[in-house]
Amino acid sequence: MATIREERSSTIPSLGGGSLVIPEVKRKRRDSNRPIWMEEPGPLMKIAKAIALTFVTLIMVFPMVYVVAVSFSSAKDVLAGGLILFPRNPTLESYSAILQGGVVTRALQISILLTLFGTFAQMVFTVTLAYGLSRPGVWGSKFVLYLVLGAMIFYPGMIPSFLLIKELGLLNTYPALIVPGLISAWNLIIVRNFFMNIPADLTDAAKIDGASDAQILWRIILPLSKAVLAVIALFYGVGIWNQFFNVILYINDSTMWPVQNVLRQYVLMGSNLASADQFAPNQAPPPAQSIQMAVVVLATVPILIVYPFLQRYFTKGVLTGSIKG
């Protein structure tokens, strides 16, 4: 739509070399995009649509706004109860309380490091295998591809996977949270499809110039695939940041827990965070509910930070591009 409007007021070069400025015509905004054959919906229909969309959007947004508001509220306001959509006396008490060091701070550090290292390892394994399987005519690569497809169909099961990690001596270590999920077969296929759609002429030309396959991957394939790699990396990163169940399975030591598990312990199971953290002795601790909500917010913020980048690519069809229509 933006491009269409730009064109309307743009200058069109004429044959004479000068340019003809077309003044923008004032139009009703709402029919700018409507196909010529589509009638304007009736007022009732419009109202119904508006209500439905507002309802859906509100349902999605409301809990998040509420939680953020409570996390910034002071003890008095929370205890008074009622509708808090904007903190009446905004305070950072809860955040400073949990960020003083202690359980949540440590959990956030663990989660950040796990996500960074884990995503890097996943990307290396996924990209190399995807590239290795992307070229037709490599002897044996079809067989490996079938192994990958088999992994999409059959899930080995929780107990054998656990016993493997146990036998490898990885219980209660951080690699146990990264290694079992190094490659997602779905992500691998998306990346491989993208690689395969890069014109072979480009790589052939490099080959003739004497480039090795490693150089082709590094110099040609990867720079051309930035968009899809960004999306896959963000998928992986969000997956590790959000992982909860693997931690339950593989990490017994609660001092090693990342943020999701700590969040569950204090927010869903109701363990008292105030007693777990050290507060200044003669100072009333912030209300438990605000602290809990501050943990929820802190566990969500990284997702909210990467989300706009992700969002940009969804609509561009990076992912749906791999789905032939």
Binding site: V138, W139, I153, M158, P160, E167, V179, N242, Q260, Q311
Partner: protein, 319 residues
Amino acid sequence: MATLRIGGKSSSGPRGKTFSTPLRKRLWRDRWMYLFILPGLAYFLLFIYLPILGNFIAWKDYAPFVGLWESPWVGWANFELLFTDPDFQRALINTVQIEILQLVFAFPAPLALALLLHSIMSERLKRAIQSIVYLPHFLSWVIVIALWQQIFGGAGFINQLLANQDMDRINVMSNPDLFKPLVVLQSMWKDVGWGTIIFLAALTRIDTTLYEAAVIDGANGRRRLLDVTLPGIMSIIILLLILRMGSMFSTGFEQYFLQRNAVGPEAAEVIDTFVYTRAFQSGDWSFATAVGLVRGVVAAFMIIGANWLAKRFTGEGLL
């Protein structure tokens, strides 16, 4: 339509002639490719295929202190237990009930939302709404349930409102009778927006000349929806529907595990949580493995069967 291209067609070009080159030369020529394949191959063999073989303990009476190899073989005893164990049967019934509810309510919801979004004329408004409705998909289950508890929980927003009005509190989050509708609503909240992506992509690919022709023939909005839009995306609907059937016995773990204590296993035990509790809390490793194995085999057959059906009805499948 909508085939995830997995096999891929080999491109013609200099490599098309590979079959005339001797194997030894080809292996050497592609040495870098093998180096790239190796780590990923090792991963799949070690962390997918080795555990698949590890399912052999389903035929044993495994006890951790006895060891994997020394534990006695028991034949099919663990599988026979599937037919008699009441806890397993309850988990199976819960799983199937929840999956049916998901199929009836959660499956069509993204389609409805996608049609609604598709009818928005302002591109900017559409983008804005999409950004909002996609977001919950990226929140972890822990956060989603924490959010729901803040709204519907005992001390949550709604109950505070009710208390302020001197009305009775309502019990949503820890009410076993409401648990199944609740988890379906939670799943819908989390994924309805995300589910619209594939439908929106399919909607934009419908040939607009079909609409023009329909209008010339005098079709109104409802007729266009029924005669142009829905047929245009029918193949993707069938494909997704069949895939949904393929995952019939895998409700997922975290959503149920996190809320199991609040409502009790009677209402919340599903197959995945059953496997976990049987192994890690009752120490019944071999039976839990047998349950997991049967579920895995049934799921695999359903995916393959669903794919076959999709190929028959829509001409193309996923694999």
